[in-house]
Symmetry: C2
Subunit: 186 residues, 2 copies
């Protein structure tokens, strides 16, 4: 039997269960609005969205590994490419690109031109410090932590702030060698 290779994000996206993107967009908008009402401080909302994303990411990685047939990435460079090309396609139906690598190969940008989270969204003046899509940075951070990569993920460009694209900087802080929870002979 031929070995099973990784599947394209497109193929996976076509095969998984999906819901209407507008329902998702409006539901996400309802979360952000709720947090703004409950927490008042925009900075707190940013933190909370990131934390929610982190929790989602730690769960979503399982679905990702199960459906994508992606095997262990050799390094952070390959990992970033897989997130952009397979991950974003598989979950949001959009493709992202990877740019701005530093010399060490430990920091890059993921660039999104299309982002279903922000359809119909306009930020009022009172929300200028808000990172509306902060859930996404949390998802990436959470998912990567589950495969032993500790990262820092920050927004560099944001279309809701007038930029021409969304740009997320992903910085590898530490790569923990995977350890089994117990030794074989224990």
């Amino acid at each position: 039997m031929a070995p099973v290779g990784p599947r394209s994000g497109e193929a996976i996206f076509a095969s998984v269960e999906r819901v209407n993107a507008e329902l998702f967009t409006l539901t996400y908008g309802a979360i952000v609005r709720q947090l703004l009402t409950d927490l008042e401080e925009v900075e707190e909302v940013n933190k909370q969205l990131d934390q929610m994303g982190y929790n989602i990411g730690t769960r979503l990685i399982d679905e990702f590994l199960a459906k994508s047939n992606v095997s262990r990435c050799v390094d952070f460079k390959e990992t970033a490419e897989v997130i952009a090309k397979v991950g974003f396609k598989m979950f949001l139906g959009v493709t992202a690109s990877v740019t701005n690598w530093d010399a060490e190969g430990t920091c890059c940008s993921i660039v999104l031109e299309d982002n279903p989270l922000v359809d119909f969204v306009e930020l009022p003046d009172t929300c200028q410090g808000l990172y509306y899509c902060n859930i996404l940075s949390g998802v990436i951070r959470g998912a990567l932590e589950m495969v032993s990569m500790k990262t820092e993920v920050t927004w560099v460009r944001d279309m809701l702030r007038g930029d021409d694209v969304f740009e997320l900087q992903v910085k590898l802080l530490k790569q923990v060698p995977e350890e089994y929870p117990y030794k074989d002979d224990e």
Copy 2:
């Protein structure tokens, strides 16, 4: 040219933009968890989810009317059928059925056997009064209000509470004749 009839929920669902259902499920779970943390009282969470759903419903009806080619329903009976057969399919990718009509044709049940909101969800003992899917009842109420039907929507059966299906009772309280905001000769 042949008149354009209403499209099936299936056909619409296939043609609209979609996102991964698991991402939606986990995102919705994150909202509920957040509300439970912030509001503490389960009863308050139920109210808030319903209100969020209402706001979403008042927006979603536009997408529904634009994409479905459904024309004015002749009565509440037809409306309920359209919600179950076209609406649920178009937004959540599942089909619902309509039963338990009262004699007046103003109260019925919408029954869901499959509900992507609750995949992997189990309620802890502390959340026994929670209507986890209360956003759905709010969506229906909000959407119907936009087409001049004031309704009360309540859960009769809930799989998270051990029932075999989800059953939403939809009761028509008042049907407001549609009025234009101004007269033609004004």
